[in-house]
Assembly symmetry: C2
């Protein structure tokens, strides 16, 4: 099959909703973004006001107008697996249905429309299109670009076009996952006094979790809400054996005013007097400050309107934050519909989002 | 392959240790006892003083001498899977090695020797050889005989020739397994306040278990030791989801002075004030009283000597107890070697066990 005939070049003269529909019809499940990356690169190279760079299936296009500020507009090209929801369709109520319609081909369409239609922005622009956001963190294309070409991502402020229901979601909370292991000694359960029960040893860990009072933190006017939770517990050898090992997997979601080191120290302190034989950090992604006090962010808020909300979940804004670039989420989709079979986006919100960005970048 | 040529008829004139070696060399893993059951039936039918009945691969042979008491000598024919430990071998220190040497072909050899050499016992005798003891309870041949022909198992006292290191082990403890389920409500772990954590809800269950003080009970002079333990705990959906379900599997091993109903009521009471949404009885096998105050048991203790010990683990003596027949474990093997690759039995203990039984049955 000649895929190039399946997927004609992207026509950036379509309106944002039509372009979103074309993008939904262009399958790009994680790991299979090459064709779409090719099409995006091809479309961007046709625009004289942009220079285009490529690293793997990640495309970065930039203006070089010597403006006082540079802002980054970023979005991922991949989707979760298609679930019988491609090709796209538009219903009578104005919803565009299809895999990625919300997360986040509508956001990518907005990026492409701004790239094509704002040749002389009031701030220098960097457009980033990256792969493998929906899978393991180490595969994430934005992370690969950050490692290989951090200069491509330089900027004063970044907008990630992730679905946020058309509201600005500032920063993101950090997420730390630790494994708390308790140990004991096996014995037959008919002679339990000869063993030591590792599941019973986990009782104080669950007590700490059940009694934990999570903190709320106001940063740049946004209230973040932390949480410390067991997400898994696992112990047991056989129905007649006193278990010698138990593991509680704890997830700490923390406000971005804690550094990763502070977050880890806090969790260690919570369980300091529990009989934890091994404390393993299984995963750790720092939070991102909303950066709403930055002038570029203030101008952005004025242009897009509405009231900024805190972002509780972890997103790639954290990667920008780690590069010293304050970042927010702002996209047309409803995040609650992401990854669902009935994923959809209100078509007129896509154009609205494009207009608001254009207003900010041309005022 | 003609199995009948592989396995010659059992020669009951061999001494007990030699006969044990022949039985070890006659594979009879659970579910494959037919050939051995055939050989046992054949050997017993040659003995004029016994009537022989068969139900499946279970053989019951009885004297009918009109004695005042009847005692049952029972043993299972099956072994756990062979682990490179067949055929048998005798080492320089007098140990007979091989799968089943301890559990419990040495006991079966003792049964067969007594059957062959005590034609006029002072008590009527019932010999029971049964299949599938090492696997699921519903497959157990003794249970099948108890259901189909309870009269075949009638008696005043029973000796199960399970390995007990040559000491009398009285009765057995009961075992009850319950599943304690807690429930909650799922949410993304970044917005944990929107959910309810089922693992945290299990904290009081583990607290109860950790604080539980098990009872000791003296019955017929034997001290039983109870135990209430989590043997498994399981909860969790994904690393970023507040779990809506958690299950703690609890095993209560209880002294035989509690009825099954009392044992269950006790466990319900322990967790009465915990947030258990579902309490499921997963398995329940009652205990067995040692019955050492029975005259036949007293005479037995006098004949075999030593001091009776309590049996903590659950054994088939419980099936006799349920039929109203007090029962003890008494066999030549060391129970700690059962099911092991290096399973073995001290050969001279087999003949010793046979002699002690003969002394009891002929004095």
């Amino acid at each position: 099959m000649d895929r190039s005939t399946d997927h004609p070049a992207l026509d950036l003269s379509l309106d944002a909703a039509e372009l979103t529909a074309r993008l939904v019809d262009f399958p790009s499940e994680s790991g299979n973004e090459k064709d779409l990356a090719d099409a995006v690169e091809h479309a961007l190279r046709a625009l004289d006001h942009l220079t285009v760079d490529r690293h793997g299936n990640n495309i970065v296009a930039r203006t070089h107008l010597g403006r006082a500020e540079r802002v980054v507009l970023a979005g991922h090209l991949d989707t979760v697996p298609i679930a019988g929801n491609v090709p796209s369709r538009l219903d009578d109520e104005g919803y565009l249905w299809g895999c990625g319609s919300c997360d986040m081909k509508s956001g990518v369409a907005v990026q492409l429309k701004v790239a094509a239609t704002v040749p002389e922005p009031n701030r220098d622009l960097t457009f980033v299109f990256y792969d493998q956001e929906e899978v393991a963190a180490h595969l994430n294309g934005l992370g690969h670009v950050a490692d290989a070409h951090p200069d491509w991502l330089a900027g004063d402020f970044a907008v990630l076009l992730e679905s946020s229901d058309g509201e600005v979601e500032g920063g993101c909370q950090g997420t730390l996952r630790v494994l708390l292991h308790t140990t004991g000694e096996r014995s037959h359960s008919a002679r339990s006094w000869m063993g030591a029960n590792a599941i019973h040893a986990a009782a104080p860990i669950l007590e700490k979790l059940a009694a934990y009072q999570p903190r709320r933190a106001v940063i740049d006017g946004l209230e973040y809400r932390e949480g410390l939770n067991a997400v898994r517990v696992e112990g047991g050898v056989a129905n007649n054996v006193i278990p010698d090992a138990c593991t509680v997997t704890v997830n700490f979601r923390y406000a971005p005013d804690r550094t990763p080191e502070e977050a880890l120290a806090h969790v260690r302190e919570v369980f300091a007097d529990c009989p934890v034989d091994e404390f393993t950090v299984d995963d750790h992604s720092p939070g991102a400050l909303p950066g709403l006090s930055h002038p570029a962010a203030k101008a952005f808020m004025d242009a897009v309107g509405g009231t900024a909300r805190p972002k509780f979940g972890w997103t790639d804004v954290s990667r920008f934050s780690a590069l010293g670039v304050p970042a927010v989420n702002y996209g047309p989709g409803n995040p609650l519909l992401a990854h669902k079979r009935d994923e959809r986006v209100l078509a007129e919100r896509i154009g609205h989002c494009e207009e608001r960005l254009r207003a900010w970048l041309t005022s």
